[in-house]
């Protein structure tokens, strides 16, 4: 492992900043394949009765999360490597805030809606 890394660094043009050879054409292609599968599955699930109809929104949300995961791993290269640790922590915080804003808003407004005085339809 150490030897291959050294070889990679030795191979570099002098004066050029170093970088980690994490990505490859293959990983992008695998990511594209998985993302296309998830997209097609979402459109099919929403347009057919393949899933039990009341479960369709849940199925769509699951597929969306799966596709976001594929994008994060294969396109944005978030992994378990040492250089990703800080990015993953920041992402976890971001996900927490996004979750609080969306579910909090939906929850509060749904409550307000159901407690509202009945209005006459004009």
């Amino acid at each position: 492992m150490t030897h291959t890394h050294e070889h990679v660094f030795d191979d570099r043009t002098p004066g050029v900043e170093e970088h980690e050879p994490t990505a490859s054409y293959l990983s992008y292609t695998v990511g594209l394949g998985l993302a296309i599968l998830a997209t097609i599955a979402s459109f099919v699930v929403s347009q057919t009765e393949l899933l039990w109809p009341p479960g369709i929104p849940v199925g769509l949300i699951v597929l969306a999360f799966a596709q976001i995961g594929v994008h994060l791993v294969f396109f944005l290269h978030l992994g378990s490597g040492p250089d990703s640790t800080n990015n993953i922590l920041a992402l976890a915080f971001g996900v927490l805030i996004v979750f609080l804003i969306i579910t909090g808003s939906v929850w509060i407004i749904a409550n307000l809606n159901s407690n509202m005085m009945p209005m006459s339809v004009h």
Binding site: F9, T13, E18, A23, T39, L72, D83, N87, I101, I102
Partner: protein, 211 residues
């Protein structure tokens, strides 16, 4: 020379002493720059989450106007999705070609990315124009206000991404693939991939669940 000398050491240290976990010396500039840009992207996501929340809350308030099911054309949405997904792919390949010092390959992939992104924008703008024309503009109902704000904000991001891409390609042609340009390219590709992630949320929540 010095960079290469510094570099050889950390590959030999055990993982618990690796950079980013407190050992092995400071992280490289590339890692620090990408981290800073990642924080920006996450804050952008927080802004989008507010727009998503507004849409989720207002989606039923159509004020007796047209609903999503009447307005949305899922065939176009699918084409838009594929355009953006493929442009994300070519953007990744372009960034990789640049890192591997293949400027001509980078230019080809950058051109593909631009064309696919522009195709996405053209389809979206045509849809918006059609909706405004039939009286379903942003002022028609709360649902449409939230729709145009959310989807329009994503479209604005794509537009600014395309402008930045032109600027970056000009930099690559004028300055070559030097380290600073490569870092900007890395940030740009993070931005573009992040826009694709936002679009996954848009087509799921707005188009598929609203149909």
């Amino acid at each position: 020379m010095t960079i290469a000398a510094i570099d050889r050491t950390p590959t030999a240290v055990p993982t618990e002493l690796a950079r980013g976990r407190g050992g092995g010396g400071p992280a490289t500039k590339r890692v620090v720059v990408a981290y800073g840009f990642w924080i920006f992207i996450l804050s952008d996501m927080v802004m989008f989450s507010a727009l998503f929340a507004a849409y989720a809350v207002l989606r039923g308030n159509t004020a007796d106007g047209p609903t999503g099911a009447e307005l949305f054309n899922l065939r176009n949405v699918f084409i838009e999705t594929m355009c953006l997904l493929l442009s994300s792919y070519t953007c990744g390949l372009g960034a990789l070609s640049a890192e591997r010092r293949h400027p001509e390959r980078f230019l080809i992939f950058a051109a593909c990315t631009f064309v696919l992104g522009a195709a996405f924008l053209v389809i979206e703008a045509t849809e918006f124009a059609r909706m405004v024309e039939i009286g379903a503009g942003p002022s028609r109902s709360g649902f449409l206000s939230a729709f145009f704000t959310l989807v329009g904000m994503h479209g604005l991001h794509v537009t600014s991404g395309l402008i930045a891409l032109v600027y970056l390609v000009a930099q690559v042609m004028a300055k070559g693939l030097r380290a600073a340009v490569l870092r900007r390219l890395l940030c740009w590709s993070l931005f573009w991939h992040a826009l694709d992630i936002v679009w996954v949320g848009v087509f799921t929540l707005v188009y598929l669940m609203g149909d």
